[in-house]
C-alpha cells in the first residue's frame, strides 16, 4: 500500500542552526507511527517542518504522493494534515469553547462544527464543564485535552501529536493514552511524538527512534525490543 505521508531525506533547522539531518520515514494510512527519542533529537522540529512552520532545506515531504515541502501551513491543514501541538500552544486569552471553535476554522470543517463540538465534549467531558472559562486558567492536563479537542475539530486525516504526556500527572497521562487508543481504533492515522516510550509503544504500529536529528532505528511496533531501544535511546554517542 502506498504510504499516506512520506518524509524523504529531510534536512531542516532554525536559520543557521541545523536540527534535522537526512530524516526519512513513512506513515501508512490508518496506522499509528510513534517517534521516540531523547530531548533535542529533533522530534518536534520534524513535526514543525512537516507543517511548514520550520523551513525544509533539503529532501522532500509527500502527502498522498504529492510534494508538500515548504507548503504554507494553512494549505496543508485544509488537506487534513493536522498538528496537535503541546498544551501550552492553546489560545490562553480565549474561552475553551472559542479555542475549540478555532479548530473548525478550515472552511470544510465549519459546516459540521456543532456535531464535532459534541463529539469532542463527549471525548473530554471536562472541557464541556469549562467551556466558558478562559483557556489560560486551565490546568496542564486540561490544556492538553483542549489542544487535542481543538485538533480533532479540524477533522484530521493525519494527526501529528507532539508530546501529549509532557509534564502531566500519571492519572492524566492514562486518560490521554486511553483517548489515543480510542482514536486509533476509530481508524485515525496518528504520528505520535513521545518521550514516554513504554506507553507509546503499546499503541504503536511502527516505531522510529530519533537521535541528534537522525533516524537511529526503524522497527514494526510488535517487534521492538524495549531493552535494545532503551540502550540506543540513552547511548547517545554509540548511536552516531
Amino acid at each position: 500500500m502506498k504510504p499516506l505521508l512520506e518524509v524523504d531525506g529531510v534536512r531542516a533547522g532554525y536559520g543557521a542552526i541545523n536540527v534535522l539531518w537526512d530524516v526519512s520515514l513513512t506513515v501508512a494510512a490508518g496506522e499509528t507511527t510513534v517517534i521516540v527519542g531523547p530531548n533535542g533529537a529533533g522530534k518536534t522540529t520534524l513535526l514543525r517542518a512537516l507543517m511548514g512552520l520550520v523551513p525544509v532545506q533539503g529532501g522532500d515531504v509527500r502527502l498522498d504522493g504529492a510534494s508538500i515541502r515548504n507548503r504554507r501551513t494553512w494549505d496543508s491543514v485544509a488537506d487534513g494534515l493536522v498538528m496537535i501541538p503541546e498544551g501550552r500552544m492553546i489560545f490562553p486569552d480565549m474561552s475553551v469553547e472559542d479555542n475549540l471553535m478555532m479548530g473548525a476554522f478550515p472552511r470544510k470543517c465549519r459546516k459540521g462544527w456543532k456535531a464535532n463540538l459534541e463529539m469532542v465534549f463527549d471525548l473530554f467531558p471536562r472541557l464541556k464543564e469549562r467551556r466558558g472559562q478562559l483557556a489560560g486558567t486551565l490546568s496542564g492536563g486540561e490544556a492538553q485535552m483542549l489542544a487535542m479537542g481543538r485538533g480533532l475539530m479540524e477533522q484530521p486525516r493525519i494527526c501529528l501529536i507532539d508530546e501529549p504526556s509532557l509534564g502531566l500527572a500519571p492519572v492524566v497521562v492514562d486518560e490521554i493514552f486511553r483517548i489515543l487508543a480510542r482514536l486509533k481504533a476509530e481508524g485515525l492515522t496518528i504520528v505520535l511524538v513521545e518521550q514516554n516510550t513504554n506507553r507509546a509503544l503499546k499503541i504503536a504500529d511502527q516505531v522510529y527512534l530519533m537521535q541528534s536529528g537522525r533516524v537511529a532505528l526503524s522497527e514494526r511496533g510488535e517487534r521492538v525490543d524495549l531493552d535494545r531501544l532503551h540502550a540506543l535511546y540513552f547511548a547517545h554517542e554509540a548511536a552516531e
Binding site: 512552520l53 492553546i90 489560545f91 478555532m102
Partner: protein
C-alpha cells in the same frame, strides 16, 4: 460649579466615543501584526479632510462623504499594510520608522492639498445644539456620533467574539503559530484587521470633522491619543478601550474647563504616566492580546 463639572464630564464622555473607535483600530492592527501603526491618526485625518473637501467644494453633507472616504482610507490602509509586509528583518523597529514616515508624508500631502488652516463643518443641522436635562449642552453631531460610535464598537465586539474571521483575528494575536495550525492565513487576517481599522478611522474622521476642528497636525495627536488609550486599557477588551477612551476624554475636558485648553494633551500624558506607574499592565489586566 456643579453644573460646570457635569458639563465637563458630559463633553468628555462624548469625546471618548470617537477616541475609542480610533484606539480600537490601532489595537486591532497591533494585535494581529505586532506593529504600532504610527500613521493611524493620519488615516483618521484623511477621512476628515475628505469630508471637508466634499462639503466645501460640492456642498455635500459630511455623512454622505463616508462611502468615498471609506474607499480612500481603506485603500490607504491596505497600502500601509502592503509596505509593512515587505519588511523582512527587525519588523518591530523598522515598522515604527516606516509608519512614522508614512504619517509624515500623509500629513504633508494634506498640508499641500488643503493648507494649514483650521476647518470644521458648516452644516447647520450638525452644529445645532442639543440640551439634555436642561443643563448639559452638546452639538447635535457630538451626540449622533457618540451613539453611532457605541453601536460601531458593539458591532466590532460582536464580530470579534462571534464570527469566524473575528475569532481568527483574536487567535492570531494570541498565538501566531497555533493560529496557522488552525488553518488561518496570517496575511489575509492582517489585511482584514487593517481594513476594519480603516473603516473605524473613517468613522472617527467624520466624527472629528463634524464635532471638533481639524488641522494637518491633528493626525499625529490622534495616533498618540489612541496609543495612550490602548495601553491604558491594557489592550485587553473592547469595553476596556471604551472606558480608557472616556477617561482620556473626561480628563481632557476637565483640563480645558478648569485649567487651560493648551494643557489638554499634557493632561492625557500625565494620566498615562500615573497609570503606568500604578498598574504597568494597564487598567484592565495583563491580557496582552487585543479587544475581545
Amino acid at each position: 460649579m456643579l453644573e460646570l463639572t457635569l458639563q465637563a464630564l458630559f463633553s468628555g464622555l462624548l469625546a471618548g466615543g470617537y477616541y475609542a473607535t480610533v484606539a480600537v483600530g490601532l489595537a486591532l492592527v497591533f494585535g494581529t501584526m505586532r506593529v504600532i501603526n504610527l500613521a493611524h491618526g493620519e488615516l483618521v485625518l484623511l477621512a476628515a479632510y475628505i469630508a471637508y473637501a466634499g462639503e466645501s467644494r460640492y456642498g455635500l453633507n459630511p455623512v454622505l462623504c463616508i462611502p468615498f472616504a471609506l474607499v480612500v482610507v481603506c485603500a490607504s490602509a491596505a497600502i500601509v499594510y502592503a509596505l509593512l509586509a515587505r519588511i523582512e528583518q527587525d519588523r518591530e523597529m523598522n515598522s515604527l520608522i516606516l509608519t512614522f514616515g508614512l504619517g509624515v508624508i500623509l500629513t504633508n500631502l494634506i498640508l499641500m492639498t488643503w493648507a494649514a488652516d483650521i476647518h470644521s463643518t458648516t452644516n447647520a443641522w450638525m452644529l445645532d445644539s442639543v440640551v439634555l436635562a436642561d443643563t448639559l449642552f452638546a452639538m447635535r453631531s457630538e451626540v449622533v456620533f457618540f451613539v453611532a460610535g457605541l453601536a460601531l464598537m458593539a458591532a466590532v465586539h460582536l464580530w470579534l467574539s462571534r464570527s469566524w474571521q473575528g475569532r481568527a483575528v483574536r487567535a492570531l494575536s494570541s498565538n501566531r503559530n497555533a493560529a496557522k495550525l488552525m488553518g488561518v492565513d496570517p496575511s489575509r487576517t492582517e489585511v482584514l484587521s487593517f481594513l476594519v481599522a480603516g473603516a473605524l478611522s473613517t468613522f472617527a474622521g467624520i466624527a472629528i470633522y463634524t464635532g471638533k476642528t481639524i488641522y494637518p497636525a491633528l493626525g499625529h495627536v490622534m495616533t498618540v491619543k489612541a496609543f495612550i488609550i490602548t495601553v491604558l486599557a491594557g489592550m485587553g477588551s473592547i469595553p476596556g478601550v471604551l472606558i480608557g477612551a472616556i477617561m482620556i476624554g473626561v480628563i481632557e475636558s476637565f483640563t480645558v474647563t478648569y485649567a487651560a485648553a493648551s494643557l489638554q494633551e499634557l493632561a492625557g500624558m500625565v494620566l498615562f504616566l500615573v497609570v503606568l506607574f500604578v498598574a504597568p499592565s494597564g487598567l484592565f489586566g495583563g491580557k496582552k492580546a487585543l479587544p475581545r
